[in-house]
Structures are given as structure tokens and as C-alpha cells.
């Protein structure tokens, strides 16, 4: 294949090479611009939120596709719509609030106004004042609408794409990923709260981190330190056909959460290394399959996470070559009983910027980013588990990271 090198450091990247990743990809402005154009604004699905976040006609939510600001809204007919959050006149943001309700979207700068489909419906002083000024006669409002998004949703999780020719969402995800998304979204969602973690690293370092089960028990030593009943080797990694998306999951060995909790309570009384209050280790097998941990990624920027009964949608938002916002949306279900609702909140201590088993991920990407200056044309090594991009019963593998790069190289044409 003829390729025009877009960065000197990727010139020598072998076409089939997934076990080596050029460090230049993490700090190149050219790569970042290409990612925005080809990847985020290309034929992919980006998560926008949950449909319950915009329940009523006119409700909107501002969010991002890559670093491009967009609006998700509920139309008068109840359907979900979306457009780029940028006035077509002089380019100002249209919506500034995180959430709101609007009948029309009017730019504060010159009061150009758009309807829910993003069509331009009003131009202030279009015909001038007193016969003077105004837009020329050949100005056509219909040529100046907002850039629309194609919208699709699955189990209440809403995705958007700038590319009208993007494949159907379920085809994009593949059946394994679809069923694993449905698994953690079986009923109407209730939002439990938001926070954002600012990562001082390129977005791809986080995307790789969540696809990396190799680091989990090494960097995050909470469970081993407190000698909590170890997760068994029951579990594995599912990688979809293309490599883009993945699921890593594990089950507790034999004893269920309650038994583990009881055992932990007994041990804590006589062991300095135990937790003084092991209530966080309780849990309910709410999906009836014994799986206590499921990390699911949808290429490129969605993470759906189940840590016991804590459920989170994480959105990876690039903010420049060396800055990323990780937007955490904790959720439960509208029909959660009080005990389960509380358990989700208690187990939220595991995750987020202060999470017992996740805080390190906020820093480790920055450790890579800060060490980039000396890398030149060098590459990182992604050989754990071989060179395949395939599902496996072992979690001591970097196969899902290789899957990310397989999809990345295809979409980026790099």
C-alpha cells in the first residue's frame, strides 16, 4: 500500500506491526490533527451519554466527539438528535451550559438562530435596517445549517457520528460487544453523578491503559495488599473481530461476595493487614452470571465499567496532544432497591480519581508522557501474549492493546 508518511517517526512502522508503537504518536500535533479529522470525525461511533440525560423534548446536553464540541438533544417528536456546537456564522459556541432546555438555539454573538435539526431559522437584521445593510439577496439560510450528527443508541447508551455513512451501530460493535453492553444496561438507567479527571497525557495512553489487563494487579495493589480473596483466573478477554473493541472480565472464585465479606470480617478482627470495615467488599450477583469485574471498551473513546456493583460510563476526551479529560458518569437503575443503590455508592470508592483500584491510572499515563522527550524514533513494546489480536482465557496478554492499534491504523490509514 502506498502511504504518505505523515510523521517521520511512523515511516518505518511495519504495515502489520502491532507489537511496536512509535512514541511519536503520543506527542505529535500532526497526528493529533489527523486523529480529529480521520478518526473522531470519521466513520466511527462516539459515545455521547445516556438517553435519560435528555428525557424531555428540548432537553440538551453538551459533550464532545474527540475534542469537537457537540450537542445531544431530544426533539419535539421524542427522537434524539445532535449537531456540532458551533455557530455557522462566526464560529462561536452555541450552547454553554452542560445541560439545558431550549426551543431554539440562538448564538449569543449575533443572534443567528437554529432549530432542533440544526437548520438556520433566523438571522438578525437579515434584511438590514431602514433599507440599508443586511445580507445579500443570494444568501440562502438553508446553506448555513449546523453540521449534524447521526445518532444511534443501544440499551439507553447514545452514540453519535459525524459521518453519515458510518456502519450501523450494532454492526460497528459486533455481537459480542453488543451483548456485553446489554449485560450492564438491562433496565432504565438512573444517573448517580459525574466527575472529570484531567490526565496530563495523550488520550491514547489512557485508551491503552484500560485495554491492558497485564498492569492491573501490578500497579493497583489494593486487593493484594489487603489480602482480599484473590480474583480467580476464571474470566478472560473478548476481542471483537476487527480488534477495535474489547471486554475483560473475571469472576470470583467459588465464594460469592457475601461469603467473602463474612470471611473478611472475621479475618479483619485478628489481622493487621485486613480492612477495618470490609463492607466495600460486599456485593450482589445482580446480573446472575458470577462476573464481578467487566471492563469494556468501544473504540476509540468509551469505557463501560462494572466493578462489583459499581457501574460507570467513562468518556475519553482529548484536550490537546498531552492533555485528556476522563469524564466519569456513575449510574445505576431506576428500579434499584435502597440496598443496591447504596452499594453502588459505597463501591464507588474503588474507582474515580480517588479510587482504591483506579487512582494510579490518573498518573501512570503522565509518567509515560513526561518520559517522551528522549524517545526519538523509538517504539514501545507490546509483545505480552504474542503478536495476535484474539480473545483468550488468559488476562496476561496485551492482545487488546494490539487490537486498538489494528483499528487505529486502519481508520487513520497510517
Amino acid at each position: 500500500m502506498n502511504r504518505t508518511p505523515i510523521h517521520e517517526a511512523t515511516e518505518d512502522w511495519p504495515n502489520d506491526g502491532l507489537t511496536r508503537v512509535p512514541y511519536a504518536l503520543y506527542d505529535s500535533p500532526e497526528i493529533y490533527a489527523r486523529e480529529r479529522r480521520r478518526l473522531f470525525m470519521g466513520p466511527i461511533w462516539n459515545v455521547l451519554g445516556f438517553d435519560c440525560e435528555v428525557p424531555n423534548p428540548g432537553d440538551y446536553k453538551t459533550t464532545n466527539i474527540g475534542d469537537v464540541p457537540v450537542v445531544l438533544l431530544r426533539g419535539k417528536d421524542g427522537s434524539l438528535k445532535g449537531f456540532e456546537n458551533r455557530c455557522s456564522h462566526r464560529g462561536a459556541l452555541l450552547c454553554l451550559e452542560k445541560f439545558g432546555n431550549a426551543k431554539a438555539f440562538t448564538c449569543v454573538y449575533h443572534a443567528w438562530s437554529y432549530d432542533e435539526d440544526g437548520d438556520l431559522v433566523g438571522v438578525a437584521f437579515q434584511n438590514g435596517v431602514g433599507g440599508e445593510g443586511g445580507m445579500p439577496d443570494d444568501f440562502r439560510r438553508e446553506e448555513h445549517g449546523l453540521r449534524r450528527l447521526k445518532i444511534a443508541s443501544l440499551s439507553g447508551l447514545v452514540f453519535g457520528s459525524f459521518d453519515p455513512d458510518v456502519p450501523d451501530l450494532e454492526d460497528y460493535l459486533g455481537p459480542d460487544i453488543v451483548s456485553r453492553i446489554r449485560r450492564v444496561l438491562p433496565r432504565p438507567v438512573r444517573i448517580l453523578g459525574y466527575y472529570t479527571q484531567t490526565l496530563r497525557n495523550n488520550w491514547k495512553l489512557y485508551a491503552e491503559n484500560v485495554k491492558d489487563p497485564y498492569h492491573a494487579s501490578i500497579l493497583h495493589s489494593f486487593f493484594t495488599t489487603f489480602r482480599v480473596n484473590r480474583l480467580s483466573q476464571q474470566g478472560g478477554i473478548i476481542i471483537d473481530g476487527d480488534g477495535a473493541h474489547h471486554v475483560s472480565y473475571s469472576k470470583l472464585d467459588r465464594r460469592d461476595g457475601d461469603q467473602e465479606y463474612e470471611a473478611e470480617k472475621l479475618r479483619a478482627d485478628k489481622d493487621d493487614f485486613g480492612l477495618k470495615d470490609p463492607a466495600i467488599l460486599g456485593g450482589r450477583d445482580e446480573f446472575d452470571d458470577g462476573i464481578t469485574l467487566q471492563i469494556l471498551t468501544v473504540f476509540p473513546g468509551l469505557v463501560l465499567q462494572q466493578v462489583r456493583n459499581n457501574l460507570v460510563m467513562r468518556q475519553i476526551v482529548p484536550r490537546g496532544v498531552d492533555r485528556t479529560d476522563l469524564v466519569w458518569t456513575n449510574y445505576g437503575f431506576a428500579d434499584d432497591d435502597a440496598e443496591l443503590a447504596d452499594l453502588r455508592l459505597l463501591q464507588a470508592n474503588f474507582i474515580g480519581p480517588a479510587g482504591y483500584i483506579s487512582m494510579e491510572d490518573g498518573a501512570v499515563g503522565a509518567f509515560v508522557q513526561r518520559a517522551l522527550p528522549g524517545t526519538g524514533g523509538e517504539t514501545s513494546v507490546v509483545m505480552m501474549g504474542g503478536d495476535e489480536v484474539a480473545s483468550s482465557a488468559s488476562r496476561v496478554t496485551e492482545a487488546s492493546i494490539r487490537g486498538f492499534w489494528k483499528a487505529y491504523r486502519r481508520v487513520m490509514d497510517i
Binding site: 448517580l192 479527571q197 484531567t198 490526565l199 477495618k276 470508592n349 480517588a354 487512582m359 498518573a363
Partner: protein
């Protein structure tokens, strides 16, 4: 004068509390709370919408001790220190030996390489037990002004 005394007691408690954290004497931190105290960090956005998730959500003193133990033994983060600047302490309610108080805080974070940032600002909503010789937090709600947290939040606020 009694009002002034209570204000003084609360102000002093907050000063001692901040000094404990800023001096990295976290082992003493749970001792500022009653056994059944609730300590939660949330954001102004979530608080205003009654969204219940916490960034830290500890329901008793044992959980605070577990938090410290995890920071000391399990969690990995770059050496860093806080400097709490607490001001605008005001009493918002009194009921017998229990007083409610509110205060503003800013935390400057200093990393091991010397770089400093205004890490977080917000307010404390406290319920304090004055019945014993030493005042203790019955409930401490930390409401962050922003919902963005830079890198990670290891040390408590």
C-alpha cells in the same frame, strides 16, 4: 460571648484538621471524626442536583482508617503535599451539643519537583459534636467548586 466561643472552637478544629493533613500526619486524621462519622467528597454540580455519588464516601471512622492504610501501603502516587487555606468559617446551626458550620477552603498542591498548583477549592459543610472535651466531626461534606480533578486525589481534603 458563648456564640463567639463556639466559633472559636470550630475555627480551631478546622485549623488543627488542616495542619494534620498538611503535615502528612494522616494516621491522626481519622481521630478528628466520631466513630460513626460520615465523610464524603462531592462536587457542587452533583450536590446541586442531588446526585449522590461521592469521590470519596466513607461511612464511619474505620473506613477513614482503611483509606489511610491504603494510601500508605497500597496506592502509588508521586510524593505531594497540600496546603489548606481555610477561611470564612461561619456557624449555620446549633442543636444542643451539636453545631453546624460552613467554611471555604483552597488547597495548593506541591509536587516533589517543586511545581505548585491551585489544586482544588470548595467548602466544608460540617456537623460537629461539642459534647466531649475535644470537638469531633459527626459529618463532613466536602463540596468541590469544580468537577475536574487534576491527575488524582490521594490525600484527603
Amino acid at each position: 460571648m458563648a456564640k463567639l466561643d463556639t466559633h472559636g472552637v470550630v475555627s480551631n478544629l478546622l485549623a488543627e484538621y488542616a495542619a494534620c493533613i498538611d503535615a502528612d500526619e494522616l494516621e491522626r486524621w481519622p481521630g478528628f471524626f466520631t466513630e460513626q462519622a460520615h465523610y464524603r467528597i462531592t462536587t457542587k454540580f452533583n450536590h446541586a442536583r442531588e446526585l449522590p455519588v461521592g469521590i470519596i464516601d466513607a461511612r464511619n471512622r474505620n473506613m477513614l482508617e482503611d483509606r489511610v492504610a491504603s494510601l500508605r501501603k497500597a496506592n502509588i502516587y508521586e510524593p505531594q503535599r497540600y496546603r489548606h487555606i481555610i477561611s470564612a468559617v461561619r456557624l449555620t446551626g446549633e442543636d444542643g451539643d451539636t453545631v453546624r458550620a460552613e467554611a471555604s477552603f483552597m488547597v495548593v498542591r506541591t509536587m516533589i519537583d517543586g511545581s505548585q498548583d491551585l489544586f482544588l477549592s470548595g467548602r466544608y459543610l460540617d456537623k460537629i459534636d461539642l459534647s466531649d472535651t475535644r470537638p469531633l466531626f459527626l459529618d463532613k461534606l466536602v463540596i468541590l467548586d469544580s468537577d475536574k480533578i487534576d491527575t488524582l486525589l490521594a490525600i484527603p481534603l
